[in-house]
């Protein structure tokens, strides 16, 4: 525990030492939600003052997206996509520690190998949870319509969902950072995974509007579950059994983490 904390502290310390990077990492999701959420807003096509048509479109939006407007839909969903994107950078810290010899230095101390892996993954999760809180705050200022009876608990549940997504994907990408030797390859894998997962999910658009083959993929995609959970907690988009889904999500994430940790420890014992 102690040593995991110390190693986690190192990662966080390094991260906080790069404040510009911290700020810049928020630009891209904010850009996404502003561009998509605001400019693709279907209400934009309704001429000013046509009250009845406006009402019709608004009703259709609520039916389609389950939120008051498209911006709210995208902004809430983007939290999990952001968690995925951030996770895809996680492996770099392992890769560079290995290349620069810091990993060998850790490996000659009595520190448990599991702790080395766990600390890196947990630091990645921590960073995402902190950044997502900021992202939600910015979205709120930009017009995200929280549900009427929103409480702090809802925010915590949404962040827990994001944490599970982050745990799942950070573990996988961290493992990649223990396997691969060149950063280009690592980032290529990140890109390969990120874009399809984003588009084949309910992050940007509801799955029931998709062609059946895409819908099939999207409904298996963890990002869809994550996005739906976050929307449920933040903006009360209806969803079946949210707590059971959240629980299963947690179980799967922890299982992915444990398995990745096992493999990573094997890789450390050369």
């Amino acid at each position: 525990m102690e040593e995991t904390y110390v190693l986690w502290y190192r990662e966080m310390r390094k991260w906080l030492g790069r404040k510009p990077v911290v700020i810049i990492s928020l630009f891209s999701p904010i850009f996404w939600i502003l561009l998509f959420g605001k400019s693709f807003n279907p209400l934009n096509i309704v001429p000013e003052g046509v009250g009845e048509l406006g009402e019709l479109v608004r009703a259709k939006i609520i039916e389609l997206f389950g939120t008051q407007d498209y911006f709210t839909y995208v902004a809430a969903g983007m939290t999990v996509a952001f968690a995925l994107f951030q996770a895809s950078f996680a492996g770099a810290s392992a890769l560079f520690d290995r290349r620069l010899g810091y990993m060998d230095r850790l490996l000659v101390t009595p520190v448990k190998r599991e702790s080395i892996f766990a600390a890196k993954v947990l630091a990645s999760v921590t960073r995402v949870v902190l950044l997502t809180s900021l992202l939600v705050a910015v979205s709120y200022l930009a017009g995200l319509q929280l549900k009427a009876d929103f409480t702090l608990l809802d925010l915590l549940l949404a962040l827990l969902t994001v944490a599970f997504i982050s745990l799942m994907f950070s573990s996988i990408f961290m493992l990649a950072g223990f396997v691969m030797d060149n950063p280009e390859g690592l980032f290529a894998i990140g890109n390969l995974v990120n874009t399809p997962l984003l588009f084949a999910s309910s992050v940007l658009f509801p799955t029931d509007q998709m062609p059946f083959w895409l819908r099939f993929i999207a409904e298996l995609n963890p990002l869809s579950y994550g996005a739906d959970l976050v929307r449920h907690f933040l903006v009360a988009k209806p969803m079946e059994d949210p707590y059971i889904v959240l629980l299963l999500f947690g179980v799967v994430s922890v299982a992915v983490f444990a398995t990745s940790a096992k493999v990573a420890v094997k890789l450390m014992e050369k």
């Binding site: 620069l100 060998d104 230095r105």
Partner: protein, 324 residues
Amino acid sequence: MENAVTAERLHKKFGEVVAVREVSFKIRRGELYALLGPNGAGKTTTLKMLSTLLKPTSGDAYVMGYSVLREAEKVRRVIGVVPQELTADDELTGYQNVYLQARLYGYSDAEARERTRKALETVGLTESASRRASTYSGGMRRKLEIAMSLVHDPPVIFLDEPTLGLDVQSRRAMWELIRQFKKEGRSMILTTHYMEEAEALADRVGIIDHGMLKAEGSPEELKGMLKWDKVYVELYRDEDADALAKEMRLAGLEARVDSSQVVVSMQGEEVLRKVIGLLNGRRVKSINIVKPNLEEVFLEITGRRLREESFDAFKQRVFMRKVR
């Protein structure tokens, strides 16, 4: 348990390449043992096996009585490893680097602070402790590596080429530090391809080449293997060396050519007189009499010289490290 380290037929293969071939040696408590060998000899690989970073393909080693194969964690508690590369975290300060290391050995915050302060003081980095490691010079970074490796006060220390690329002054300072560790009773293995370093510091030297331990003994013992001094003759015209060597052999001397110099073994009083006689009428650039040293021993044993890595090559390595 009188030995600090016992290596028993350590063997390491990387695919088809045999990096270390059935190497066995013992290091007594408090002893400083130098592994002397050229680039690629297997020094680092040997140290990595001793420090539990690499699993031997076969064989085993014991550090303070603990098997590196079966009791790796106990081994890790008693060793301090100063790696060949510079491994400190560039983004952290010198202080943070050492402090984190102390915490990883399980010391409380207060104890870790105290140990960090002491370790930085020992290596002389107190002044620069609050600067980022990325701003350190090569010599300072080496010192930081040492502070990080010794913060838990290990009885056994492994130093992999600790003076590689250092200027003369920093090298002397490092030697002093190593001598101090020896006074404190620590057992050490030091790898080097500088023979002066092995000669200046080591109680015993192991000569390693192509993964094999070729000879072992105190510097005096090793030099004792060479009974005779040598005369090195350099002519103005390199082409003439072969002819001269031939003439010398005809005169009953043991002579050969090594990098365009004629080398004559001083077996007996009259050798020098004969050599000088044969040099009559030739244009001689230099003539040197060399007492047996480890360089000569290495040459005798392996048939090759210890190639010294130039300072430029080292700089290039540091540079590459920064780029990647």
